[in-house]
Amino acid sequence: MSDQGLRISGLQCSVDGNEILKGIDLTVEPGKVHALMGPNGSGKSTLAFSLTGHPKYDVTAGTATLDDEDLLALPADKRARAGLFLSFQYPAAIPGVKVPNFLFAARQAVRPGELTPAKFRALLLEKMDVLGMDPSFLGRYLNDGFSGGEKKRLEMLQMAVLAPKYAILDETDSGLDVDALKDVGESVKALRASEEGKNTGFLIITHYPRILQHIEPDVVHVMIDGRIVKTGDAQLAHRIEREGYDVIREETRALV
């Protein structure tokens, strides 16, 4: 029990031989919302991909555990089954694979045998209704021909259906208009309010603080050049909004 949480310690990661993450320490506790902010290229998405097990991301040092389970020893699908979820910044389009078929396969993999296809369909329609998604999504292929906003809504739908223990939202807010941004906020709130998702911990990766107007973070981290250089409460996000990353970069130059 004492080791509950998504615990990242000393994590270093390289892509194509270039070191991107230079030692990350971060713990997302169950039920808490952490925001990870930072300028473009600081390594935020690399952290997301290295935690979820993308084969191109080579973890060279450190540990990552999910409620005691060693994430780094598992392939991507088993990390998901352990309870980890990543909302992709750029979800892949998969022509010919229908949304409900894929989601049923994913739900069965993550929570085996809980739902019959009929009950699953009812759950799906209910979650889609919460997200204001048209039922016509059910007849479409996964992300195929989707607009940017539709892709993000589908990511949020998958999060709702899989109800993970820990959800990483990688720039889910990027490219969204005000209404879509609000819907992302609502979907996080809806998951937290549900029985399945009341203990879900969130790591919300974002460049801009505006998503945090819709989801109040418990903890805010700032990442610059592959390191977390500052950690604080929601006030830190407001400060970044006012002052930008350069001020933080100056303050923490000694660290970096």
Binding site: T52, P95, G96, A106, A109
Partner: protein, 378 residues
Amino acid sequence: MSSQLLESDRASALERFRTTGTGREKPSRYWKFDLETLDVPMPSGTPGGSVEIDAPAGRIVACDLQTAQRDHAALLERAFGKAIVPSMKFAHLARAFTHLGAFVYIPRDCASDDPVVIRYRSAGSSSIFPHTVVFAERGARATVVEHLDVDGDSFVCGIAEIVTDESADVTYAAPQLASESTRILFTRAALPGRDARVTWATADLGASLSVADIAVIAEQPGIEAHVASLFFPGGSQHVDIVSTVDHRVGETTSETVVKAAATGAGQGRYLGNIRIAARAQQTQASLRDDALLLSKRAHIDSIPALEIAANDVKAFHGATVGALDDDAIFYMTSRGVDRAAAERMIALGFFEPVIERFPSESLRETLREALQRKVEPA
């Protein structure tokens, strides 16, 4: 004379078969099968085989070719052989020995949602030379499904042709799931009338060697042609498909979609011809062919060939050859689906744009199940 239709011209057809080229380039060094040296088991005496025809109740006439020759000679003569052009080498071979076949006649303004189902069978390991003739009159609409129940070391060389009058709409589906010891060569040719629509939906999944020529000759304005084709050689299967849409006049539209995968040591070859004649202005033609390689030894040659002599046309072509997309696999596995299942889903999904052109859900399911068996790990 019409009573002689089937018997006429056999000797000269055989001669045309011998003197006509395959319409294919020399094989690449990967390609292990040379059609030029195909060993044709020439039948001595009357070839075997049988045909079973199921037609929906109503005005559609569907019968075997001999009956058609006896009872509907004038109608048969309006369509028989009309869509075949001299370059169709294997159609000449079929023509030389045609002894069994089906005639489907859809009278004027007759529309049917239920398909005519034609089933050719070989008796044991014989050679069969089937010939299907579909003739649709003005405003008629119908669907034909052709099955080949052949096994042993059967050799099949057949023709399916569609000839229509104005504003007819014919869909012809040929899900080929024959035993992998057979060899199958088929020529599928359509000659639609003005403002008519024809759709070829073909799947080549069985046979050790499957060769198909699929053609639409658009020589009337307003024609809409669809060619949807999938094939999937595995093991040591060879599939060799040529599709041709010949826009001879303007204001004609065509869409060709081909999805091919290969696994094991399977080899596939696809040549997609789109021809737009100089006077065929205002033609719209698209050709999309994608190939998926699922093993290191598998090979697919994919050659789109657009010959455009007119200047006011819209022509699109796109082609890809590749392995499964790593990003797609990671995306699916990151949601908990194991890698093998993700690969299967992606590979099956790849064929959907062609599967959805097949006319019934049961047929589509049959194809999905057959494809599923091919992508299951051996």
